[in-house]
Amino acid sequence: MKLKLHVWRQPNKDQAGAMKDYAVEGVSEHMSFLEMMDTLNEQLMNKGEEPVAFDHDCREGICGSCSMVINGLPHGGHKGVTVCQLHMRHFKDGDEIFIEPWRAKAFPVLKDLVVDRAAFDRIVASGGYVSVATGGAPDANALPIPKKEADLSMDAAACIGCGACVAACKNASAMLFTAAKASHLNHLPQGQPERFERVKNMSMQMDAEGFGTCTNLSQCEAVCPKEISVRVIAEFNADLIKAQVKG
């Protein structure tokens, strides 16, 4: 099929960008969206132009690198898939597609569709872990964990840190990401000692990075490729209140 693309081109962090139009030909319905972008880039380079820069790596929906807003929706808006897992069979010949980077103050554009998501790493560094050093851990089966709790923890731990939740939110809030990390750890006995300090510190870091406050509109959940539930946000807020009461 043949497609008309409108792609965000921005030379670097400091210069302004703009949407640019491209026609791409020879797209198969079996291609992934990124393979369609590869096809575009090969065509551009054969014409002597610079390829469109975009983040990608594993191309199987788990590394969290790929990050494009497609027709206004992060990852294209199909339930439970990242851009790399979005296939062209969802499009038809002659379609017009708008492709933009994540847009959020805390995620500055570095070039074209590539943004800087280091703010997520700093949120994790502010408390998204159990403070245990290597060595001296007790036997793994010494502490049974109810399957239900382990499953709730795993549901939240499935987050791939892609940032679609931020890109979807009109406040560019990082609540779903931050709360998912807290929920992963807070459902486990290993996470209890630091539970309340964790939510306080991560929440403060999230604010410091320039993410907005939660809108309670659940757009984040709707676009999350790992379908993480906003129940993690409710848990996070509850823990935050408890943390304040405890002082």
């Binding site: 594993c58 191309r59 199987e60 590394c63 897992q85 998501r117 290597t134 795993m154 731990a157 992963h184």
Partner: protein, 634 residues
């Protein structure tokens, strides 16, 4: 090239314990005087960087991704082995070690492998303490499943995302150390050169992939945890960014490259759909716990799978390997699939595929149980192929997945270049000629959490090298080398894209140095690679500039290194005139099984690539605890 394996003496059960006692220690106050560079943040790199900094060393950590959490370990699906014997099915450290030695077709180093099995139990404890949400039974205890090449259930898992969860555990440990200031993290930095001074590894040169700035970094030791070279084939299950550059650059500075021809072709991947394809997707080996592999008995049978009656199906793994059945090891299962397709019995487009069928398991256990076990894998399959594996069998075909070869290391995980340590997939030592499923995660974390943090101290305590800064002429020269290479790529302005060369090279490698190899094909390949390489250096087109984010430039550097590396890989495949594990020379087979030649090839082939022509050295393999036998899974 001097290859001293430094394997401690004594019975295999005591080697690691006595070695730990004999290694010199560095007192905590002195540790902080040493700086260690760790390149790569997968399971091995993240766990090593975190643990070394906990011990008190200053750590500089580098990755090419935008966050350490994205390293390709994250894509491992099925699980991690450990000799916990929680299932009471007769597992032990010795059994895990034996399975791994045998799985590697007696081409790995048994002392390293035994140590790996020994520390495997600590890994699970450590990960649980970090909050890794492993699958659990209703009683709250950890759940296990089986993997290929083993008759016990020793694989721990977190749904189909075990690699992700283990990497997030290691990443969180790393972020904890970054927060304390004891690790300095450099993301979007690609290592382009190793710097040696007086024969010791003393630093690296990196390119900042956003600003293009080329920088030098000096340290007291360098650790490479930069993964494997599966992308030499262009199409593989590896992430797009995976490359051989860091290890190859080290090899060019004198580090020996061991067994480059040992590559693992994984039997259960989604078959290739077209020429545009950018990568292949793995379907976890864990699926073979419940899925049955089959092909039609009749050649060219194009009926839909549900139209083929039971007695016209060939469950060839169950037929050929009754004691291991569908859980035969990867090299064997891959070869069997290739044979079936070569006989004209393959299914799907081009006849390159076999069925992986869950109908029996769904009948036995119900759709709900199967969905709980493999739901995300089934979803992934549906997303990619548009087919529903709950009702139609999956179609699968082998694909390049892992590389057992890598930089040569001694028992301390140090290469022949003093100070250069190599861990995880990047080294060669633990998997011989074939890796068993769920052992890569085990090795990455064993090296990073429990082996290197001890052994690197032995080097630092005894090396007595003067402190150096990046003002040293060797650093200046290495920076100049990188800049020259970059300028060269940008100046060629040819007609072909980097990807088009990479695709062609990969295709050549797959055809002649892939699942089956022979003397004629390898000799042809050794002429074709240099010819294509020459064209690359004349006719590649790298647009853009050096001082900006430039994806074409990044790829050009990696593909240029693949060109050189692939030649050595083909030489190694030609030189190893036997079949073993994943290295299948068609001249040496016994009813389709790999036929080893222990008399001539019971050694590690180590290639020195600093001169005009690669030179092969040998480390003889010594088996004291486990005796090489014909590897049978029948």
């Amino acid at each position: 090239m001097k290859l001293e394996s430094r394997i401690p003496s004594g019975p295999i059960e005591n080697k690691w314990t006595s070695h730990k006692m004999s290694m010199p220690l560095i007192n905590p106050a002195n540790k902080r005087k040493f700086k260690i560079i760790v390149v790569g943040t997968g399971l091995a790199g993240s766990s090593a960087a975190a643990t070394l900094s906990e011990l008190g060393y200053q750590v500089e950590s580098f990755c090419f991704q935008d966050s350490p959490r994205r390293a390709h370990s994250i894509a491992a699906q099925g699980g991690i082995n450990a000799a916990k014997n929680y299932q009471n099915d007769g597992d032990s450290v010795r059994r895990l070690a034996y399975d791994t030695v045998k799985g590697g077709d007696f081409r790995g180093r048994e002392s390293n492998i035994y140590r790996l099995a020994e520390v495997s139990v600590n890994i699970i404890d450590q990960c649980v303490a970090q909050g890794v949400p492993f699958a659990r039974e209703y009683g709250g205890h950890l759940s296990n499943r089986s993997f290929g090449g083993a008759q016990v259930s020793r694989t721990f898992y977190a749904r189909g995302q075990t690699g992700q969860q283990l990497l997030i555990g290691a990443y969180q440990a790393l972020e904890k150390q970054i927060h304390t200031g004891s690790v300095r993290m450099h993301t979007r930095h690609e290592m382009l050169e190793l710097v040696t001074i007086d024969g010791h590894a003393r630093g690296i040169i990196t390119r900042d992939m956003v600003s293009g700035k080329v920088e030098a970094w000096a340290a007291d030791a360098v650790v490479l945890a930069t993964g494997g070279y599966g992308n030499a084939y262009f199409l593989s299950t590896n992430a797009k960014g995976c490359n051989v550059t860091a290890t190859w650059r080290a090899a060019k500075k004198g580090a020996g490259f061991a067994n480059p021809c040992y590559t693992q072709i994984h039997p259960t991947c989604i078959p290739q759909a077209g020429d545009y394809q950018s990568k292949l997707t793995l379907m976890s080996e864990s699926l073979r716990n419940d899925g049955r592999v089959w092909a039609p008995k009749k050649k060219g049978d194009t009926r839909a799978p549900d139209q083929i009656p039971e007695d016209e199906r060939d469950y060839y793994l169950e037929r050929k390997y009754p004691s291991f059945g569908n859980l035969a090891p990867r090299d064997i299962a891959s070869r069997a699939a290739k044979q079936v397709c070569d006989e004209g019995r393959g299914v799907g487009p081009g006849g390159r595929g076999v069925f992986l069928d869950f109908a029996d398991a769904i009948k036995r256990l119900g759709k709900k149980v199967i969905s709980e076990r493999y739901g995300n894998l089934f979803d992934m399959y549906t997303t990619i192929t548009g087919e529903d594996p709950y009702s139609v069998p999956m179609r699968i075909y082998p694909a390049v997945h892992y590389t057992m070869g890598g930089l040569w290391v001694d028992y301390n995980l140090m290469s022949n270049l003093p100070g250069l340590h190599v861990i995880g997939e990047a080294n060669f030592s633990d998997h011989g000629a074939n890796r068993l499923g769920a052992s890569a995660l085990m090795q990455g974390l064993a090296d990073g959490y429990f082996v290197l943090p001890y052994t690197i101290g032995a080097y630092l305590a005894t090396a007595k090298q003067p402190k150096v800064t990046t003002d040293h002429p060797e650093f200046k020269k290495a920076v100049a080398d990188v800049n020259t290479r970059t300028a060269k790529f940008l100046s060629i302005k040819g007609k072909r894209t980097v990807d088009s060369f990479h695709r062609q090279l990969g295709n050549m490698m797959w055809e002649k140095c892939g699942m089956a190899r022979n003397d004629k094909g390898l000799n042809e390949l050794l002429k074709e690679i240099p010819a294509l390489r020459e064209e690359f250096w004349q006719n590649v087109n790298v647009p853009g500039s050096a001082d900006n984010l430039n994806t074409a430039l990044e790829k050009a550097g990696r593909v240029a290194d693949f060109f050189e590396f692939c030649e050595t890989m083909a030489m190694d495949a030609l030189d190893r005139d036997e079949s073993c594990g994943g290295h299948f020379r068609e001249e040496h087979e016994d009813e389709g099984e790999a036929k080893r030649n222990d008399e001539k090839f019971s050694h590690v082939s180590v290639w020195e690539v600093t001169g005009d022509k690669p030179v092969r050295h040998k480390e003889p393999l010594v088996f004291e605890a486990f005796h090489p036998s014909v590897r049978s899974y029948k």
